[in-house]
Symmetry: C2
Subunit: 351 residues, 2 copies
């Protein structure tokens, strides 16, 4: 599976048949709005018309990639890095925000420590099975990863995608946990789009004005340090990313190459999607955007990918929460295209 | 239950305790965005902190009020009036758009014929139990209803609200079906807000330019004919409404007076909510807005009621579909405030 190989779009014939079914439903033309478009996308990604329902349980699966970031020690976050490990434990215990949403909407959740700066003693082994390192480098001062670590993180993400697909995923979601992670994610977006630090940096989960200014300096310094290496998506991950973000990129790339759709979350998910699209042109056809984050870089990257978020509720929790909250909309779309009567049935000889 | 009596807001102490719990969750301040606000509203309307979950089945209930409108014979709709009765049969059979959504999201659906211009032979008796008349008057030429019919329709809506609450509703939804109904609904909004026909008239489910112009003329003529009677909400229903819209108003008023929240749908639902608020000041505190309709009058009325829609997906299906599609967001909000760990629990002596 060489990098840069284009990804085939969802089957064009299925897409055409799904659009034809939508037009034939016993509803006024266009009345389903964006749920109609989402339904056609869903049907095409599943290769079935009418599309399968999305029952929940095994078929919708969220993977949360956790890791720490050296920049967190440099004033870019309102929270201390120790929170990352504590939140991994909270996911395992099922008491986090995304845990509550996932139970409500029947989404399977898996959390993986790719680079938490803690040995997480007592946390189940499978959570740490793909760990690449403790913490990733402070990107304004040093590379986030070695080239070998980037390769391992990408491969871990790809392997996890295949495991989730084998477990029955029809729809995958990505989530993140890592204090400071909006800084490298913003840097990935700036590198991917060729824009400046001030265009991509936001307040994350709540940094103050001084922190915001510091964050812009850090991203600007990181981009300057990355230099020409940011022309290459894999080298961008080595210079500006992290183990958890690189794994997310590998996961998104592998899911698209395997023909399994992903509902994207906030900035981290979308920054990784942008990077995955650089590695696997065309992959974006397999993605839908769950929600609009409050981070400006997320909107810039979504616009570049041609994706419009389904929800816009001011969420800035991370964890995959915006993607999980949007799962019922995919379920709505699938139900409409699958279960609504066709006009031809209602007006046919027996109707 | 006299008209114009103010409605008590959800319990202030419960609201305060719910906001305090939200602030105490192990999530960053404000990170839940509008889902946090929705959770506090939900908790206050239920009088419980933490709030109950919203399981579906009996506790979320949609009532679709169906009726025909004399204006439909005057070029204001892209569809023939016969569709109204056909769609009532489709709801009964469970094959409409909202049927598919309601099954997917575990919402109980009831359809009632208040004023369909068809005897609906063969449709279950309970659907027709509250029928007021066959079709309502063409409002640019004549009153929609007699004063007695308005009273009966309002009472029917109130009775249905009480029946649904007795059946276990913790959350109610209203839906509509009736070719031509965006015309009287726009007139209700114009009357309620004191604005002009051209400010409230939209394309409904797809009228062309000529139809749009005709619709503005019809609403303007109806408002002129209504005259000073539009100062009074009940007389407004008699002059400019319909049996199905008046019943929806009674339903919304009674639900608010009984302290049961309603998730509003598109233009018809919100036009009736605006009218119910005129009859029962303060009722809007019991409502949330499911989605933004493509009809301008809906946005005007929501702004007046102080409500911001949860979804904005370009839906213009009617039937209550936008409210049903938003039910999972109330479920998300309830789950977050109920099930996420409190910071005090995580950091307490045993944490």
């Amino acid at each position: 599976m060489p990098d840069r190989e284009p990804v085939a779009a969802p089957d064009a014939e299925t897409h055409r048949a799904a659009a034809e079914r939508l037009a034939g439903l016993a509803t006024p033309a266009g009345a389903l709005g964006r749920l109609g478009d989402l339904a056609v996308w869903w049907s095409a990604t599943q290769g079935e018309v009418p599309p399968p329902a999305l029952d929940g349980g095994d078929d919708v699966r969220l993977v949360i990639f956790a890791g720490d970031h050296g920049v967190a020690a440099h004033g870019v976050s309102a929270y201390p890095p120790e929170i990352t490990g504590a939140m991994v434990r909270t996911f395992v215990a099922g008491h986090a925000g995304v845990s509550a949403l996932a139970i409500a909407h029947r989404v399977a959740v898996r959390v993986l420590d790719l680079g938490v700066d803690d040995d997480l003693v007592g946390v189940p082994d499978e959570v740490r099975a793909h760990k690449v390192r403790r913490g990733s480098g402070a990107i304004h001062l040093e590379d986030a990863l070695t080239a070998d670590e980037t390769t391992r993180a990408l491969e871990a993400g790809r392997a996890v995608a295949h495991e989730e697909i084998t477990a029955g995923a029809r729809l995958l979601l990505t989530g993140d946990m890592g204090i400071g992670n909006t800084t490298p994610a913003a840097a990935l977006v700036a590198a991917g789009l060729g824009v400046r630090a001030e265009d991509v940096v936001g307040r994350g989960i709540g940094v103050d004005d001084a922190g915001l200014a510091r964050k812009k300096e850090v991203v600007a310094a990181a981009l300057a340090r990355g230099g020409d290496r940011t022309q290459d998506p894999v080298e961008t991950l080595t210079a500006l990313g992290s183990a958890d973000l690189a794994a997310t990129v590998g996961f998104l790339e592998a899911a698209a190459r395997a023909g399994v759709p992903v509902l994207l979350d906030g900035l981290m998910s979308v920054a990784c999607a942008l990077t995955a699209e650089r590695m696997a042109p065309g992959a974006a056809a397999w993605w839908a955007a769950g929600h609009r984050s409050t981070e400006p870089a997320q909107s810039l990257a979504l616009a570049h990918l041609g994706l419009e978020p389904l929800l816009d509720l001011g969420l800035r929790l991370g964890e995959g929460s915006g993607a999980v909250a949007a799962v019922p909309l995919v379920r709505s779309a699938a139900a409409l295209l699958r279960d609504v009567a066709l006009l031809a049935e209602l007006t046919g000889p027996t109707g």
